[in-house]
């Protein structure tokens, strides 16, 4: 057991202090100490991206990042996306476009897509697939995730949005 250290960061806008062993991974601190259990753990080889959070404006796999490295950082997790009970455009897009099923990859998908749309507000389908390649999904086959990101991108650009789901489109026509 090595000496514990205090680490301070901003988590979804709230100043947060934790005491951790240097070896503690950020994903464990977020889930077990901060009780932000949206970010998930899907592997131990840094592939799946289920643990993705935003650290100082970068998408980071929090399973491959020590909590001590987050000292003085600004962190955003899926819990910080909605504002005043209003879903973020991405959350709405994933719902409207059926971009999730079991929901296990979704927090990581959402935080990664959040940073992607900050950097590229109008990504092509190919760009969405390329820049989301660090996030695996077992359920959706990715097709609807692409649509969900496109939906959110359009909404964030201030354009009218409409779900591509045939039944929903039919319902809104009546």
């Amino acid at each position: 057991m090595s000496k514990k250290v205090m680490v301070s960061f901003k988590l979804n806008g709230t100043q947060t202090d934790v005491v951790v062993e240097p070896r503690e991974l950020l994903i464990h601190t977020l889930r077990e100490k901060c009780l932000h259990t949206g970010p998930h753990i899907g592997c131990e080889t840094s592939h799946c991206g289920a643990c993705t959070v935003d650290v100082n404006g970068m998408s980071v796999k929090s399973c491959t990042f020590l909590t001590v490295q987050a000292d003085e950082a600004e962190l955003l997790t899926v819990e910080g996306l909605a504002k005043g009970g209003e879903l973020h455009a991405l959350q709405e897009g994933f719902m409207q476009e059926h971009g999730l099923q079991c929901g296990f990859c979704t927090p990581g998908m959402l935080t990664r897509a959040y940073r992607l749309l900050q950097e590229n507000p109008s990504p092509s389908e190919e760009e969405i697939r390329y820049w989301m390649a660090g996030n695996l999904c077992r359920c959706t086959g990715y097709q609807n995730i692409v649509k969900a990101v496109q939906y959110a991108a359009a909404k964030l650009r201030g354009e009218a949005v409409q779900t591509s789901h045939p039944l929903m489109a039919e319902a809104s026509a009546h």
């Binding site: 240097p22 998408s59 491959t64």
Partner: protein
């Protein structure tokens, strides 16, 4: 998933980092982007007693053009390479290579210096650096030395980097305008290490190859420079027969390890095919 306990150090200057490294000797490891080291520690392949985090040394970051050289700080991330206008304009091979490394999250953290220092034959920068004729700046407590990429890689996870040294920067001669280039990488999926890959830079004069460098990824104990293949092309037009002859010479130096990416024969054949493709693409990009 759970690394062994260690002490963490976050030096604020290079001299502090060097003295920590010397103080703790072989029990210490440098922490750069952490996307090779932490995975190994999580699987307990590596169990350092001290981690020295280089993340708070701004002097190890950045991309600058100095005279005829591009100088890249060792802690510059893959993502920063991709978006660098200097590299996009002057050294597009490095951008093309970085875009094929791992995935977005990893590229926000992983650094060029870490990719090179790790000495993994699966990494992409070693071959890219050999093709670009790069040199590495290695700092120790008694000063720095500059070592060429060609010859730096000694074995799997072994380089000329000595105990007590920190790679601080990468120096790349600015490729001549009109140079052809390509990094052709075969992989099972986005984010995987190469089954085989080839980096090429070349120049043409009067329709003939006047300068060429060819380096291979993940088909030997280290990245390999294919010197015989280079020699076979010099002074000749880059036609299909010449390309095929060079690819066969490149295949002749391959000694790949058999694993889930394929057996020796397959990887060797793919190194040849990546060499053909990299040479063809370099030809289409080269100007006289």
């Amino acid at each position: 998933m759970i690394p062994r306990p260690f002490e963490y150090h976050a030096p604020r200057s290079l001299s502090e980092a060097l003295s920590l490294l010397n103080e703790h000797g072989e029990t210490a490891k440098l922490l750069a982007g952490g996307h090779s080291l932490l995975p190994m520690m999580k699987l307990r392949f590596a169990e350092p007693g001290h981690l020295i985090d280089l993340g708070k040394l701004p002097e190890l970051k950045g991309i600058r053009e100095v005279g005829n050289e591009i100088r890249i700080g060792a802690m510059t991330t893959e993502n920063e390479l991709i978006w660098s206008t200097v590299l996009q304009e002057k050294c597009p091979l490095l951008v093309e290579g970085a875009r094929q490394i791992s995935d977005p999250q990893v590229r926000y953290r992983g650094t060029i210096g870490g990719d090179i220092s790790h000495g993994d034959p699966g990494n992409d920068h070693p071959a890219l650096m050999i093709a670009l004729d790069a040199s590495f700046v290695l700092a120790g407590e008694h000063g720095e030395r500059v070592v060429p990429a060609d010859g730096f890689f000694l074995g799997t996870y072994m380089t000329q980097l000595e105990a007590g040294e920190i790679m601080t920067g990468i120096r790349i001669p600015v490729p001549a305008p009109g140079s052809g280039y390509c990094y052709a990488k075969l992989k099972r999926k986005t984010g995987d290490f190469a089954t085989a890959a080839t980096a090429v830079t070349l120049r043409l004069q009067g329709g003939n190859v006047s300068d060429v460098r060819i380096a291979l990824t993940n088909v030997g104990q280290t990245a390999l420079r294919a010197t015989d293949a280079e020699q076979s092309l010099l002074g000749k037009p880059l036609d299909e027969a010449a390309i095929d002859a060079a690819a066969r010479l490149a295949m002749g130096i391959c000694e790949p390890a058999e694993d889930l990416r394929g057996d020796i024969e397959y990887k060797t054949a793919m190194a040849g095919e990546m060499t053909r493709r990299a040479l063809r693409t370099s030809l289409t990009r080269a100007r006289q």
